[in-house]
């Protein structure tokens, strides 16, 4: 194994892949340290057909729909990521033992997978605007070229203009929007009829911006509308960070160092190098690698562990952000009895923004999906009726059922903190939960949904952390607010010179929009700044 690199990048998720890209482009030798977990069981057995055809013809379907250990049959309350189906469960495998977390009721999903959580993400890609970035040391204009670079790399689709445009800002090289399904089509038409009234009340709707190729792009796509996105990467249309790593792997300067977990690093100011101590996950042996610079992108939780361990900051709390999240299963009653287009995708169809005070700061983001490919037995569990009666009823109304997931913003003032204790366990202490304000806001969203023809049936609160959006552990701050365990505007960890952080750890706040498009743009920005500095 080669041991000296210009740059070592820790992680292989959306942040790491997009931070590595400009470094490799600049001709630097880059080593990517990652445990490298993969799914070798299910991916090869999912056929390339659409959902309905598979259901009718594939005798092996139970293997990936239910899992070989029947891990796809859920018991207990709705918890983290219903989209983490058996073929996606490799994403979180193996983390509890190597990276223990004690988070009480909070769900802290960690990953040791090649491609990170992005191996199963829902690809909803909303950029942040200046209002979202109000407490950040960088604004949209600094991020803009990187949103554009990432759009070209990963492929973002969406409408050029609609009511969401003020909350999206300009995006170059958008692919045409994906085709929405029959429920979304209906709801959107209803919205158009009452949009004046809803806009005046701070509620707007548009088609989802998705990291999905709706036309052929870099050997991927176009989206085939087979409705299998939660189970497989059939047409490679939905962006996965592993695709970027595959592309990087074709460059001589890039080295994937799989099977390693970074434990701690040490900066050597004398020879301007940084050493990273890793654990070989197969051999259990320690491996030390060195480079001129280190980029940490192990996810907000993983990076915090490495930094706190390396700097000897045990028992020192850092902030922890995660978007509060609620589901509203809804019926679209006026569509009942109407025909539904069979070809569709399972991802977000419509995105909404409710900005109660017009500042953008407290805006929430509801997203609408249709329910089908996650299978109907999961709905049986939620039905209070006898199962025998539920089966035909669900069958008759399932096509008119939508799920609206509401994301709320999160701020460091929530009081939630993460620390590394003496035993090496990451402890996350839940902060204050503003239930009343959140509920009131959700009630108003439910009212808007009724106006556009969606009847909420119940409210499901899957608990803190269920959004699987984590951030804020080592926030970027301007010089005026600089402090230990913070980063500067280029992601450089204060107190040292050679380490930059390129993942969600650096986010000072967490707007309600999904963070990953901004993670990637910010990682690209940080990688580009580092490449520039190393060249000079």
């Amino acid at each position: 194994m080669r041991k000296n690199f210009d740059v070592l990048v820790v992680g292989s998720g959306a942040s790491a892949a997009n931070a590595a890209w400009p470094l490799v482009e600049a001709g630097l030798s880059v080593g990517m340290i990652d445990p490298g977990g993969r799914d070798e069981t299910y991916a090869p057995i999912v056929p390339g057909d659409d959902f309905r055809t598979i259901r009718r013809t594939d005798a092996n379907q139970h293997r990936y729909f239910l899992g070989d250990e029947f891990e796809g049959i859920p018991f207990g309350p709705v918890r983290v990521g219903a989209q983490l189906t058996p073929p996606r469960q490799f994403i979180t495998r193996g983390t509890e033992e190597r990276s223990p977390v004690e988070a009480g009721a909070l769900q802290a999903a960690q990953t040791f997978a090649r491609g990170g959580l992005g191996a199963g993400w829902g690809a909803s890609a909303m950029p942040y605007t200046d209002a979202d970035l109000a407490d950040w040391p960088v604004g949209r204009s600094e991020l803009q070229p990187h949103y554009d670079a990432v759009s070209k790399r990963v492929g973002i689709s969406g409408p050029k203009r609609d009511d969401l445009s003020p909350h999206v800002g300009p995006l170059e090289s958008l692919m045409p929007p994906s085709r929405i399904d029959s429920n979304a089509d209906w709801v959107y038409r209803r919205y158009e009829r009452v949009r004046g009234e809803l806009l005046a009340r701070g509620f707007r709707m548009g088609q989802a911006r998705l990291a999905v190729c709706t036309r052929r792009h870099r050997g991927r796509g176009p989206l085939g509308y087979g409705d299998m996105e939660f189970w497989a990467d059939q047409d490679r249309a939905v962006y996965r960070p592993a695709f970027t790593i595959d592309e990087l792997a074709t460059r001589g300067a890039f080295h994937e160092l799989s099977g390693l977990m970074a434990v701690r690093y040490r900066e050597n100011p004398a020879d301007e190098s940084v050493e990273v101590e890793c654990l070989g996950l197969r051999t259990n042996e320690s491996v030390t690698l060195s480079a001129r610079r280190l980029v940490l992108a192990a996810g907000a939780i993983g990076t915090a562990r490495i930094v706190l361990e390396s700097l000897g900051r045990r028992n020192e709390p850092v902030p922890f952000l995660t978007n509060p999240y609620t589901y509203l299963p809804c019926l679209v009653p006026s569509r009942i009895g109407r025909r539904t287009r069979d070809r569709r995708h399972s991802l977000t169809q419509l995105t909404m923004i409710y900005d109660p005070d017009g500042t953008g700061r407290n805006a929430v983001q509801p997203q609408l999906y249709s329910y089908r490919s996650l299978l109907s037995f999961k709905l049986l569990k939620e039905s209070p009726l006898p199962m025998r009666e539920s089966i035909p009823l669900i069958r008759a109304i399932q096509e008119y059922l939508v799920i609206v997931g509401i994301f709320h913003p999160d701020f460091p003032s929530n009081g939630r903190r993460l620390l590394l204790d003496d035993a090496g366990t990451l402890v996350i202490r839940s902060g204050s939960v503003e239930c009343a304000a959140r509920r009131a806001c959700e009630d108003r969203v439910a009212g808007f949904l009724r106006r556009v023809g969606c009847m909420p049936l119940k409210r499901i609160d899957p608990g803190p952390g269920a959004s699987i959006h984590y951030a804020g552990t080592l926030p970027m701050r301007g010089e005026a607010a600089a402090g230990p365990l913070t980063c500067d505007a280029d992601g450089r960890l204060r107190g040292g010179k050679l380490v930059v952080v390129a993942d969600g750890s650096t986010f000072p706040t967490l707007p309600a929009k999904g963070l990953t498009f901004t993670l990637m743009a910010n990682a690209d920005r940080i990688g580009a700044a580092l490449a520039k500095e190393m060249a000079s």
Partner: protein, 134 residues
């Protein structure tokens, strides 16, 4: 036994009115051993297996009074196994029906559900009397 073939036959017959293949029964048995390692049972489950005609009423009662009862859990596993087969998938796949047909369907199954609930709640209350009886 944890999830034996007879149990699956009774639950499938109740759920979809069909007799499942041996292969599916084996799959059910494997699922039960992997999901219910301690083999937890309940009075409602034992009664539904002893008197299959009570499966509907007891399921209805559990749906309201004890949604996590072993009977509901076993029914969920049986439904998941049936749904993910080519033989039975069609019974679960969404099917287009007219508004009127859906109204009739809702009325019919709603009435049956209500009747099952009424009988089921009475049976559920009587279960302790039969506890331990075989």
């Amino acid at each position: 036994m944890n999830g034996d073939p007879r149990e699956f036959r009774i639950l499938s017959r109740y759920l979809i009115g069909a007799r499942p293949s041996r292969q599916l029964a084996e799959r059910y048995e494997r699922a039960c051993s992997s999901l219910f390692r301690d083999g937890t049972r309940s009075r409602a489950l034992n009664a539904a297996l002893r008197w299959p005609v009570l499966a509907g009423p007891l399921d209805a009662a559990c749906g309201l009074l004890a949604p996590d009862d072993a009977l509901r859990q076993r029914l969920l596993v049986a439904a998941a196994i049936l749904e993910t087969t080519t033989e039975h998938a069609e019974r679960f796949l969404p099917r287009h029906r007219s508004r009127a047909a859906i109204a009739v369907l809702v009325a019919w199954h709603g009435t049956r559900a209500a009747a099952n609930v009424a009988v089921g709640i009475a049976c559920f209350g009587l279960l302790p009397l039969f506890a331990g009886k075989r």
